[in-house]
């Protein structure tokens, strides 16, 4: 049942991703990207990471999409017309095939599963995903958490400096 569910969600995710790069109108691409983000959120839920799923919807499908739509408005990207050049199709296909070959090689030859950590599905179901993330973030990784605020501060100043005409 879960495998079947995963198949459906994965298929929708791949189809939506293909739509993102094939749609002529950039707004349609952005809408397809939202669908991809929602599928990813569903996959997070199936991986016992509900907090990540919620953040995926809140930040990516919510905030990042607003930014992408604003970029489309800002650059005034028009509906794409005409065909892509055959060179880019050729090179793109070659790189895609190469990456696919690499992936198959990786899956067949090497062991992808590394050393298992202490946090598994049973613990997540018992304690809760958000609690575990919070505990790690606010006790074990206290300094990185505080440094994040400085990173955000730099980003805020950068945003103002880049867009204001007169500072």
């Amino acid at each position: 049942m879960e495998t079947f569910f995963f198949m459906i969600v994965a298929a929708v995710a791949v189809l939506a991703s293909i739509l993102v790069i094939t749609c002529k109108n950039p707004i349609n691409s952005a809408l397809s990207l939202i669908l991809t983000f929602f599928c990813l959120a569903t996959l997070y839920v199936t991986l016992d990471a509900p907090f990540m799923a919620a953040i995926q919807v809140l930040v990516y499908a919510g905030a990042i999409m607003v930014l992408i739509v604003f970029v489309i408005m800002l650059l005034n990207v028009r509906t794409e017309s005409g065909r892509r050049s055959s060179h880019s199709v050729l090179f793109g296909s070659l790189i895609g095939l190469f990456t696919l070959f690499q992936l198959f090689y990786l899956f067949n030859r090497s062991s992808l599963t590394g050393q298992k950590g202490t946090i598994d599905s049973a613990l997540i179901n018992k304690v809760g995903h958000t609690e575990l993330i919070g505990k790690a973030l606010y006790t074990d990784f206290l300094l990185p958490f505080e440094v994040t605020s400085i990173l955000l501060l730099v980003a805020i100043i950068g945003a103002v400096v880049l867009t204001k005409k007169k500072i």
Partner: protein, 118 residues
């Protein structure tokens, strides 16, 4: 485990079905008597002046960027609020430092007039 998320799935399904039904049934049973006036694009009752596909000012973009940055700040508050009682005073202190550093950024944005629509 996944059964707990069934209501969300049902909600998504209802939303999709509602959207599809609205479109399909209105195109199937709705009356279509188009006229020149009915098909004319309108905005708030006024005649449109030029195309809507124009370059927008960068002023919109800074609002979006600041929204994302303070959205990320809010994201860090969610797990903190879940653990609020267990972290105790220590949690209040560390979140206080976090918020104060970002508040400096907020003051900067405010003082530089980035929130004003000039």
């Amino acid at each position: 485990m996944l059964g707990a998320y069934l209501p969300i799935l049902v909600l998504v399904a209802i939303a999709v079905i509602f959207g599809l039904c609205s479109l399909v049934f209105s195109s199937l049973i709705g009356q279509k008597k188009p006229s020149v006036v009915k098909l004319a694009p309108y905005e708030c009752g006024c005649e449109p002046v030029g195309s809507a596909r124009e370059r927008f000012s960068v002023k919109f973009y800074i609002i979006a960027m600041l929204f994302i940055l303070f959205d990320i700040e809010a994201v860090f508050l969610y797990p903190w609020s879940v653990l609020f009682k267990r972290l105790g005073m220590f949690g209040v202190m560390e979140m206080g430092v976090f918020i104060v550093i970002l508040f400096v950024g907020y003051i900067y944005v405010w003082k530089k007039g980035a929130l004003e629509w000039e």
